[in-house]
Amino acid sequence: MTLDELPQGHMARLAAIDWSALVPEEAERLRALGFDTGAEVRLAYRGVLFGRDPLAIEIGRMTVALRRVHARAMHVEQPAESATA
């Protein structure tokens, strides 16, 4: 499952990130913000209108906005009972 498929409000752990699918500068920025294998993330909000884009991701004590195209490059695994609303 990729990050953009995570249901809203759910927690997950970043299992693998396909850095090559991202623009190098954006990959660097995401890394600087803490997006890396093992990091705990929560999909907090989805954007407006039909695309439900961008996404607001809680990582650590930050909320970071990013696009679905970035989230699609991040594979996540959800712990068995993680459905915290």
Binding site: R31, A32, D36, A44, V48, P54, T63
Partner: protein, 619 residues
């Protein structure tokens, strides 16, 4: 040992509260300029240590690391490394950490500490951390980092003296027998791990209290309530710009008139007296009168920035901006352009994608800047009835709002076309931290307003004064023969005759053509030049008491007035914008392109407006 003035620099992640700390440390004694050769803002101020010693304090742009991804971050890196031209390497670095986000902010902090420069850490916003239920141990963090850690709350001036003392002590240690030495390099994943351990080690207790900003976000980032709130907010802003400023404007207008009367009472009738009253006072006064409106607009923009709402607005707008090939990041520069295109274009530096940035620069002048307000205000007040459409919603405000909307739609359409033609490229991304909500302090807001108001006044005082005087000269020389119209005889009159031929099809008379000449320097001058040219036209003192609006109504049809408004939505009437575009794009190619496409749009839209209005019998 000599104790010359030394420099200290604030470094840290974006949203660490650096600017508030900088304001608290330096007060109003700040100098804002650009780093030479680049267009990154350099903020410097004077900090007095508790010992009374002055320190030059620099507020560096927020950065996530030395692996830079934007010009702002590159400047921060170069200043810290001592590689920035025209900027001595800071003697002491002050790392600013957001106390409630240590795990993230300690990553860059470690990278800075590796350099072995004299360093002090400000554990900032400890009050917000405790609001989040977080109790921190600064002493534990200090022993982990090996440099002094001072708890600060910039907005309540807590810890400022201790921080100042620590900065002085760090400089003394560096000059002593055991200066700090560079530390071994640690990779990013290792730094991240260490940051997490240090953050945990420094956390005494953490209650799982639901954070306030998460609850606010639930409402403000709501998929359909969020945009409605944003639209409502922007609408309130524009109504406020019109109504709040009115009483102060009347006061300023009265002041300018009183000054003119005073000059007339003191000086005998002469050309010099006319230059002072009709040229200088009328010209500058007509522009300064709009300072209150500009301040109201800046107030709201500053408020949105300081509270953290601006980033949410970018989040909400990203989808729409993506629709025309831009990102939510363009929203902030474009919103700033409502105040003035120059800071807006300069703010595009935060856009990392070059084509994205170029597109934003090219459409920024289509955002209705405050310099157009004087023009809009005069025309709207003269030609649009001051009636109520709904309770609290005036027709005049509605028309003004409409003009802003037309500008925005035009900008979006142009962006769409540019992104498919001239600035074609891969779709740009959008990655942005949404900062925590904060209550802004009155002091920070006041300081920001003062700085921006001052820039505007300086512009009014220099460039607009020059333009007003030059225009007066153009209008008054050569002198007309007795009984002939002065405007027709003047230099400006001859230039306007030529322009008027081109402008006639779109309903512009010669007076408008005349007003367009000086308004190339600054849009708002159109108002004072219309005022001057109609004052010259009537030529007698009795007519001078009449309002400009009344006089416009005698000379213009409604169709002409509407065409004039349409022209100003699109026309690139500001040399400063062209100059800043040249600087930001490193050449004349893009400013030339901007100038031609905007003039073409202005001509076509003014024409369409005029012909439509005439067809409806308003000519």
């Amino acid at each position: 040992m000599s104790r010359g003035p030394f420099t200290a620099a604030l470094v840290g992640n974006p949203n660490a509260g650096k600017s508030a700390l900088f304001n608290a440390l330096t007060g109003a004694r700040q100098k804002i300029a650009n780093y030479p050769g680049v267009t990154v803002e350099r903020k410097a101020g004077r900090l007095l240590l508790p010992s009374g010693e002055p320190v030059e304090l620099i507020d560096l742009p927020g950065s996530y690391g030395f692996n830079t991804t934007s010009p702002d971050e590159e400047v921060t890196r170069r200043v810290i490394m001592g590689e920035q031209a025209g900027q001595a390497q800071p003697d002491v670095l002050v790392i600013v950490l957001d106390a409630s986000n240590l795990e993230q902010h300690l990553v860059f902090a470690q990278e800075v500490l590796e350099l072995g420069r004299p360093t002090v850490v400000a554990l900032n916003m400890v009050d917000l951390a405790s609001r989040d239920g977080l109790v921190l141990d600064a002493a534990a963090l200090q022993s982990e980092l090996g440099v002094p850690v001072i708890e600060t709350v910039a907005v309540r001036r807590r810890g400022l003296d201790a921080l100042g003392a620590a900065i002085g002590a760090a400089r003394d240690v560096a000059a002593g027998p055991t200066p700090p030495a560079p530390r071994p390099h640690v990779t990013l994943p290792e730094r991240r791990l260490l940051a997490r351990q240090m953050a945990q080690g420094a956390t005494l207790s953490e209650t799982a209290r639901h954070r306030v900003h998460a609850r606010i976000d639930k409402l403000l980032l709501h998929p359909w309530l969020g945009p409605v709130i944003l639209a409502a907010l922007l609408f309130v802003v524009f109504q406020a710009v019109f109504s709040w400023a009115a009483p102060v404007q009347d006061l300023l207008e009265g002041g300018a008139n009183a000054l003119s009367d005073g000059v007339r009472a003191v000086l005998p009738a002469s050309l010099l007296r006319d230059l002072l009253t009709d040229g200088v006072i009328a010209g500058v006064g007509a522009v300064v009168v709009f300072l209150p409106q500009i301040l109201v607009l800046f107030f709201f923009i500053l408020l949105m920035e300081a509270t953290g709402y601006m980033a949410r607005a970018a989040f909400l707008m990203d989808r729409m901006m993506a629709g025309v090939g831009l990102s939510g990041r363009s929203f902030i520069p474009l919103l700033s352009s409502f105040a003035c295109a120059i800071p807006g274009i300069m703010a595009t530096r935060s856009i990392t994608d070059p084509k994205d940035r170029l597109t934003t620069i090219l459409i920024a002048p289509l955002m209705t800047c405050s310099a157009r307000l004087p023009v809009y205000t005069v025309i709207i007040a003269a030609f649009i009835p001051n009636s109520r459409v709904l309770p609290g919603v005036g027709l005049q405000g509605l028309v003004l709002f409409g003009l802003y909307v037309v500008g925005v739609i035009g900008a979006m359409a142009v962006a769409l076309i540019l992104r498919r033609s001239i600035t074609k490229g891969a779709a740009s991304g959008f990655i942005m931290e949404l900062p925590k909500y904060q209550l802004p302090t009155v002091k920070d807001l006041a300081l920001g307003l003062w700085q921006r108001g001052w820039v505007f006044l300086r512009r009014a005082g220099t460039m607009i004064l020059t333009v007003a005087v030059v225009l007066w000269l153009l209008l008054n020389f050569p002198r007309a023969e007795e009984g002939r119209s002065q405007v027709d005889a003047s230099v400006a009159g001859h230039i306007a005759n030529g322009l008027a031929v081109m402008m006639k099809p779109i309903g512009f008379n010669r007076d408008i053509a005349l007003a367009l000449i000086p308004s190339m320097a600054a849009r708002e001058v159109a108002v004072s030049s219309l005022a001057t040219s109609y004052a010259v036209d009537t030529g007698d003192e009795a007519a001078e008491g009449q309002m400009l609006g009344d006089r416009l109504k005698q000379h213009w049809s409604l169709a002409t007035a509407l065409a004039f408004l349409a022209w100003f939505v699109f026309a690139p009437q500001c040399m400063s914008t062209i100059a800043v575009t040249r600087r930001e794009t490193n050449g004349w190619k893009w400013p030339a392109f901007m100038l031609s496409y905007l003039f073409a749009l202005a001509y076509v839209f003014a024409g369409v407006t005029y012909w439509t209005a005439v067809a409806f019998g308003l000519g």
